[in-house]
Structure formats: C-alpha cells, structure tokens
Subunit: 373 residues, 2 copies
Amino acid sequence: MSKDILQKFNARRIIVLIRTHGPLSRLQLTQMLSVAPSTVTRLVNQMMDINLLTEFPNPEKQGQKGFPAKLLRFVSDSLVTAGVFFDPDRIFTCIADFDGNPLSEEEIPITERSFEAILSQASQSIDNQIEALKLNSTHIVGCGVSYPGQHTEEPGRNLKTKQFSNWPNVDVLNDLQPFFDFPVYQINDAKAACLGEMLYGACKPYQNFCYIWLSYGIGGAAVIDQNLYLGNNLAAAEWGGLFPKSKMRPSGQHFLDTLRVSGHELKRLDSITDWHLEQPEARQWIDEATQKLQWLSLVIARTFAPEAIVFGGTLNASLIDEIQSRIASTEHLGEDFLISPPDILRATTDNKPQLGAAALAIHEMLSPSKFTQ
Amino acid sequence: MSKDILQKFNARRIIVLIRTHGPLSRLQLTQMLSVAPSTVTRLVNQMMDINLLTEFPNPEKQGQKGFPAKLLRFVSDSLVTAGVFFDPDRIFTCIADFDGNPLSEEEIPITERSFEAILSQASQSIDNQIEALKLNSTHIVGCGVSYPGQHTEEPGRNLKTKQFSNWPNVDVLNDLQPFFDFPVYQINDAKAACLGEMLYGACKPYQNFCYIWLSYGIGGAAVIDQNLYLGNNLAAAEWGGLFPKSKMRPSGQHFLDTLRVSGHELKRLDSITDWHLEQPEARQWIDEATQKLQWLSLVIARTFAPEAIVFGGTLNASLIDEIQSRIASTEHLGEDFLISPPDILRATTDNKPQLGAAALAIHEMLSPSKFTQ
DNA sequence: TTATTATATTGCGCGCTGCAATATAATCGT
DNA sequence: ACGATTATATTGCAGCGCGCAATATAATAA
C-alpha cells in the first residue's frame, strides 16, 4: 500500500476537486482538470488500490442512456487528520476525515497550564481516538495544533502566547513534534479557524476571502487563491493592530472589561449569557463595536477586495451573530463604495475550533502552492 | 527557430532566474532550481539555439581552479517587449529587452483625445521602433498598454477612464488587439508602474510589496509572491477608496485644487514647479498629505504586511520624494506597531511609465502563476 | 436483438527528467 | 613540464507521467 501516489501532481488535483465538489465521476474530473481520460483512470485506480477512494453508482443517472458514470468519494477512514485546539480553559481534540466530518472528538478541561501538561494530554487524547477508531499512524496525514497567540519573526513558524504564562516561543520541530508520531503543524487560533471555514465551512466556494476572528483579542486571516497569505513576519491580516489599545476596541477582553466596570464580574468569554447582552452597557458596547467592525470591513474591502468577509470566533455566538447580521444588512459599507461589496458571512465551524487545526494538516498537504511540479 | 521552448516549465524558471539575478552559470541554475545538471544543460542549449541566451566567461573566476564557469545572459534584441503609456497630455512608447533596458523610446504629445487617434499613433510609434531596431514581430513577446482608469467588473479586464471623455469601457481583445500584430495586454497606470518596479526597479528583491501611486488620483497595487493581486472586481489595493471624497485626500487633483483656491491656476501635474511647492498653502497641504499617507502605510502594514511599501506616480517628483522620505524616517509607523515595519521605498521607474506597460507583457509570460504544468 | 450512446480502459509512444558515467578546461604539486 | 586535482558541463540511458487513438463496457432506444 504505497502512498507515493499522493505526491503526484494530478493525483492531488483530483483529491482537491473531490474534496471541494463532493463525489465526481472520472469524466467530470477529466473535464475539470483538462487532462486525458486515461490519466484520470490510472490515477483514480491507484487511489482506489490504496483504499483512499471508492466508487458508487450515480443515483441521478439511473435510467439514462450510455455507460453509467460511477461517482468517486473518499473512504472515510482511509486518510484522516488530527486536530488540537486549546485556550486557557479547555483542550479540544478530534480526528476528522477528508470531507471534514469529525470521526471522533474530545473536550478536556485544563487543570495545569504548563506546556508539557497540555501537550501530553492533547497527544494522549489523539492517540486514544486513533486506537478507538482502529486506525494507525499510517492513516494520519498529520496533526494541526492551534491556540491563541502571535507568530514571531523567527523562521520555523514559532508561536508566542500571552495566555499561558511562562510559555516559551513554541517551535514546531523542536517543541511540538516529539509529542506526535506523524507530522505536526502549528498556527494560531484565528488562522486555523480560517482554514476550517475554507475547507469545511462557509467559505468553500471562495478563492479569496478574509476572516475576522473575535475572541479575547481580535485576530484574522486572509486567504488568497485558496492559500493563507501570511505576509512579512506572519503579520498579515492581524486586524487587532488597527485598533489602538488607547481607544475602544471590539475585542472580547474589552467587552469583559466594560461589563466589569458596570458591576458584572466575568472572567471568561463562555460565561457571557444572553442576559448580559441585554444590559444597557452591553448594548452600547455592541453598537460601538459594530460600527468599528463595519469600518474594518470597509478597510478590508478597499485593500484586499475579497469575495467575502467572514465573522467568527470564541466570543459569545449570539453577539457575533448580531454584529455580522447588522453589517451584512447595511445598505452601503461606506462612503463612495460603489462596486459590489464582499459577501458578509457568519462562520459555521467556530463552535469546533479543533476542526480548523485539523484542516491545517490537510491544507499543508493539498494546498496548490505546496505542489509546484 | 522554434520558440516552444518558452512553454516549458523549467525553461521559464531559468528565464525568471536570469532576469531577476542577472547572469548565472549553469551550475548556479542547477542549484537554484533543484534540478539535475543535465536538465539545465539541455534547456540552456535549446535557448542558445534560438538565440535567446548567450554565454560569456565569468571575469570573477579568472585564475581559479577547475572548469571555468560560463555565465548566461539574454541576447538583448532576441526577445523584446513593447510598452505604451498615455495620459491626457502625452503618449509614451518603448521597446525594452528582458533586462529592462529600453532599446528605444518615443514621446508624442496628444492633440486629439479620441480612442482611435491615440491608439493608432501609439501602434504606429511601436511599429516604427521595431523597424528602426531591425526587429520583426516574432521577436516581440507582447505589448502592454496602460493609462489612468479603473478596471470594471466585467470579465476580460476592461478598463474605464474618466480622463478621456466619451471613451467606452475598453476591452482588450475587441478594442485593443486590432491595433497590434502581437499579443496585447492592458492594465491601469498604477498597476503597470507597480510591475515596472517589480521587474526593473526598486522592488526586484521583494516577493511581497504594495505600491502607492500618486497621480491626479490615488491608485495602487499589491504584489503577493511576485504576482499582482487584483482581488474581486479587480479592486484590490485601490487605496483611493480609503479617502472619502468629502474630505481632504492626498491626490494630485486635490493639490491642484488647493493651489487654485489660493490663486495659483494650474491644470496639469507637470506644470507644478519647485516654486509652487514652497508656497504656504502647498506646505500645509504636504504636511496633511504626508500624515494621511503615513496612516495609509500603517493600514497597509497591518493588513498586507508587505516587505515594502513603494511610493511613486506622475505627481511632481520632489513632492513624492519628500513624502516618501518623511514617512521613511518616522520612528514608528503608528501606535503599538512593534514588529519591524516594511521598507518605505521610492519608485525608480516612474519617470518612464511606458516601462511598466512593457513589463506587463513579460509578466504575463513569466509569472509563476501562469505556468502550472 | 441490434444500434446507439455515454463512460471507462488499454496499448503505444513521446518528451521531460534524474542518474551515473564521461568530457572539458582550468590550477596545483612535485 | 606533466600528471593530479578540481570545478563545471555534457552524454547515454532508463523511468515515468501523460496524451492519443483504439477498444471495451453497460446502459437505453429502435
């Protein structure tokens, strides 16, 4: 069962197409890729040999003339990806298939916030799930790890975090890889969530979009031609920087601080209830935050001109819902904005942040930029 | 002399490397491309066969042990590109080689502003230069055409312009191609200038940068991984949209209007003299414009996080010089901006806007995104 | 039962590439 | 002075991904 087929250019393109469009016939793949039918046949058959793809009759083509096309789909437990997300309060882990269905999930409360403790629990959780699903490490394309933090300027995609006191800048190869038996990738919470939306969520149809991630802070990500654009120092799309700390900023932390001043002592984002959102101080904050985020949307539309802007995050879901729908329903994003505006979307996978981490491993394998040949 | 070698993947990569790095030996190419030496030898020899490349001894390696490496460079008149730029006042045309040296240039004053008149003069000028240089159309990879305007949402890269009254939206294939015997490409002034900087000017070393184009209006462009990023509706990096028409905006037109209010009647940007720049009203305008453009630089740094931001345009050169150097010398781009800022550069080719148009044809041929195979 | 149609497979050859052996042209060492 | 050494380039050969064209397959239509 040699998987070097996965290194082949057109094999990857086939995987990408089936992943984004759902089941397809060989003929459809031929047309979409502009390659000879024989090429598709050979590659598909090799992928069926290693049990990555399977075929089934097309129910819609029952009773039609000609050779009945067979549709191709992924074998759900043939190749899977692992995802780990954590914040100061909890660890989320999962194993997901190529279609983005979690095959298993786990949530673990955090008791000790040391790097060692969190990562051992996470890797143990992944191992348990692999065992429970009767998989082994040859089935895993990789594991994505994501948590709140900022990428540093050093090479190697290091991540530093304020949320976990005394943590070092975490380096993928030196610090993370020892915990896992398969390739590990690391990215911050916002950018992982963005990949989740791109591969599995509301952004599947888009080539270019921007993500606005509302959590304790304000994060973000920009997708250009189905790739994460990270920019110099990996600082691209870090929208939080557009809101100086000296002024009101539409972050979860600022919302908690605002509530605290008026006597509602909350420490965690997930303690916010619908009742809190109805308080006058909250209403006012929401108005102001919506206004700021609409300005941000305008700036994004004028700079990146994405097809869509997506709102998501670990902030209270109703709160994000309201902000997104209010911005989506405004007549004009801003003065002189005459061209058709980007779609303003609500993220659909931000309740499962580990799915974004899982998406990272798939992205690293399938992103067009990774296979030049 | 069959030029289908130019369609080959690694042949194009070789051209790109020699274009960006200058003369290289076969061994250097081997290492930079991570291919076998035999691959480079064969491709290079084919390109020498069609007289695209030529070799010469490496002067620096005189007196060193071993087989002396021969360096490869372009034959200057083997493959060339044509460029046409015009604004309401003049037409600039040129023929340039792959290294960005103009082989010939022409400037034509505009007497009649009809589409037909301008394009016939431009194409006639190009044809004359081709003849004078003893070239024929097989040597021309293409012709870029650029002028002030905004791209429309229609497919086919249509360009609409306010500067030329009664002009239709110009479509490349239907409207432009009939004037030329080789492929034509069209793009607006700002984005063409940006390509000129990327291929020939101050931005050669950068993978990602943003261009701020100061002319009658405020244009711009974003380069991501050595590609123009155009965004949805080709509206990306149109910075002008960030300055509402209801307020002060750092555009050449606004500068002319400001001077007019204080009694200095100027209609054309190239009528601005150093004396004008010393007037009190001008000084105040420049202060304000610098402040606005520094804010823009901060926004760009926070969104695109480019390696560099380049200032250029058809606005008075001293004026752009001053704005660029003032922004480049500020301690911090803005509040909380802690990471290393982008380089703030001065464009070096904006005195030859036709070179940017010429760059477009080369870019269309050599851009990595155009050759997947 | 045969013709027609839509889809998939097989046989063959081309062309790009890597590998390993060989060639080339300079200096170094004695 | 002349072979040894070194750095660079070329050649022969084989592998392999792909396209083309012929063929096979499995359904409906006549």
